[in-house]
């Protein structure tokens, strides 16, 4: 219970307040997705969508279960390797290759989760970090990852054997579809009977146990689902950039996704998407200037922790609620 304590969790059960907000948010998001590739580089938008899904999958764990993982790079980059290998060496159809990467990430999630889930708080975070460092060295040594070179020139292939994903807009369509499916799955999990138990565990684990819940099982379930969805994002990214490298399994990738989630607003559905957008945009802006991006990331992190702990979406939401608060409803 560390970072999540500071957060104003927006949901009030099967809340009435989301009734109008969700359709509006979805419409805006869809509109942006249609317009974006015409006003920005499609490859940039695709990268953004992959990271937005990554951060959302991570947020499922931090924001809705209260588990801070420092090892999600393993699932993101590991799935990228698996998909790249499947597409390049085995010549698998792209959707199948993505599915393969996702399943591999789920398996890695199960392995890491079984070891880490019993530890509490900071020990959980440290265990995931240690295990993901181990995974990093395994990926570095494994013959199929080609060490520093990575798996390059991954063919995008033909979707279902028909649509050539070499066409930028076809690839963009696939990324959009993956993103929407991934987000829908996350939304469903978070707003399900299972998700309700996860929130209870996040709020007060001892109380959840005292109500008879085997909390380790729920946490492990959430961990594996989060790993799988992270893998979905990593697999898709491998096809977009046609490359899988050590960069995606390194610990700073785990740090980056934490930053995205915190910046956007932990425990909110839109927060990680916004956070990913801001971070990816900043990285792109400074990538060509030679200015050290890590300095900016550090500065953002400090500002985020000191000034708005609820993140962009969390702070906005709080502001909106305060201005609309009905004074008659006071206790």
């Amino acid at each position: 219970m560390s970072i999540t304590d500071n957060t104003d969790f927006a949901d009030r059960g099967a809340g009435r307040s989301i009734d109008w907000k969700m359709p509006v948010a979805i419409a805006v998001l869809l509109g942006l997705m249609v317009v974006a590739p015409f006003v920005a580089y499609p490859i940039f938008v695709m990268k953004l969508l992959c990271f937005a899904l990554f951060a959302s999958a991570f947020n499922m764990l931090l924001g809705y279960t209260g588990l801070l993982s420092f090892g999600h790079a393993t699932f993101f980059g590991g799935a990228a390797y698996a998909t790249a290998h499947a597409a390049k060496v085995w010549g698998l159809e792209p959707l199948t290759a993505i599915l393969f990467g996702t399943i591999c990430a789920a398996a890695m999630g199960a392995a890491m989760g079984i070891v880490a889930i019993r530890r509490q708080g900071i020990y959980f975070a440290m265990t995931t970090l240690a295990l993901s460092q181990m995974a990093y060295f395994l990926f570095l040594r494994a013959p199929f990852t080609h060490a520093e070179d990575g798996i390059q020139n991954v063919p995008r292939g033909r979707l279902l054997g028909m649509i050539d994903l070499g066409e930028t807009m076809a690839m963009y369509g696939l990324v959009c579809a993956v993103f929407l499916v991934g987000m829908a799955v996350i939304w469903r999990i978070v707003h399900s009977p299972f998700g309700q138990v996860l929130k209870a565990i996040r709020e007060n684990e001892a109380r959840a146990i005292s109500l008879g819940y085997r909390v380790d099982r729920y946490k492990l379930g959430a961990f594996v689902m989060s790993a799988a969805l992270t893998g979905l994002a990593g697999s898709t990214k491998a096809l977009v950039f046609q490359i899988a490298t050590l960069n995606d399994v390194a610990w700073h990738m785990s740090g980056e996704v934490i930053l995205m989630t915190l910046l956007g607003g932990v425990g909110t559905v839109l927060g990680p998407i916004v956070g990913a957008g801001v971070i990816v945009a900043i990285q792109n802006m400074f990538a060509t200037t030679g200015f050290p991006v890590s300095v900016i990331m550090g500065a953002i992190f400090v500002i985020c922790v000191m000034l708005f702990r609820k993140g962009i979406v969390g702070t906005l939401g709080q502001y909106l609620r305060q201005t609309r608060r009905d004074p008659g409803a006071k206790e």
Binding site: P193, K199, E203, S210, L211, Y213, E331
Partner: protein
């Protein structure tokens, strides 16, 4: 069990709902619980009293397996639960509340109670179903909230209501599990005196057909509610008996009730 009348209790088989034998707990060098043997008869309300630091909360932790005992055995309704996990103890029918108010702060009062019901209704692991399926439980939830006088606030977040109401909510959540044995750790601490009567009534009513063990400092409440009293001091049982016997005991008077009470 049907209409239950405390004054007409059967003299026969006052079967033990819960019993602990030789229960001990060491924290490092510190003997927090020292060879405690305790027997709680089915259908009674049993008070656990004693000065702060006597080990009452620790004993609750041991009985519910939240804290692993150093030695001793625990039997719940004839089943040896000494090696159970805490959640298995709950499934065996014994539920505890906590001394420090234990609610789910960022969930509504309704959701707080509903979470407790989800497992019983087999609606706790479906990640593919929409949350609104849980609305099927709302009738039961509202009845429980009504019992503790919180129906008006069902939609409020638990973090937004007063301390006394959090305690009432906790009681509703515990009752949702319909436990055979209920362990309440200072259920009325920090409550306004107006609310104490309400909660005492509720505990009395919910005691019908159940066994309750409660830690309580308010001796008027203990006298009013409890059939038997165990006094704990420095981790050991100092005395056990009816309220009047305990009040009469010189030893207890010195160690606990002090000069202030009479």
């Amino acid at each position: 069990m049907t209409a239950h009348d405390r004054t007409l209790q059967q003299p026969v088989a006052a079967r033990a709902a819960l019993s602990a034998r030789g229960l001990s707990k060491r924290f490092g060098d510190f003997q927090a619980i020292d060879d405690v043997t305790l027997e709680v008869a089915e259908g009674t309300i049993h008070a656990l009293i004693g000065p702060n630091g006597a080990g009452k909360s620790t004993l609750f932790g041991l009985l519910t397996k939240f804290i692993p005992p150093t030695s001793g055995t625990i039997t719940l309704g004839g089943t040896d639960i000494t090696r159970f996990k805490p959640e298995e103890v709950v499934r065996q029918g014994m539920v505890r509340s906590f001394q420090i108010s234990a609610v789910f702060p960022h969930l509504s009062l309704r959701d707080n109670v509903r979470v407790a019901l989800q497992h019983k209704h087999g609606l706790d692991r479906q990640f593919w179903l929409p949350e609104r399926r849980l609305n099927a439980l709302n009738g039961e939830v509202d009845a429980l909230l009504d019992k503790v006088g919180l129906s008006d606030l069902a939609g409020r977040l638990a973090s937004e209501v007063s301390y006394g109401r959090k305690r009432a909510l906790e009681l509703a959540t515990t009752l949702a599990l319909d436990p055979q044995v209920m362990l309440l750790d200072e259920p009325m601490a920090g409550m306004a005196s107006a609310d104490i009567g309400t909660i005492a009534d509720l505990i009395r009513r919910s005691g019908e057909g159940r066994t309750i063990i409660m830690v309580e400092h308010n001796l008027d409440v203990v006298e009013d509610l409890c059939d038997r009293v165990t006094v704990l001091a420095r981790g050991a049982v100092l005395a056990e008996g009816s309220f009047d016997e305990i009040r009469a005991s010189q030893e207890v008077r010195e160690s606990y009730m002090g000069a202030g009470h009479d």
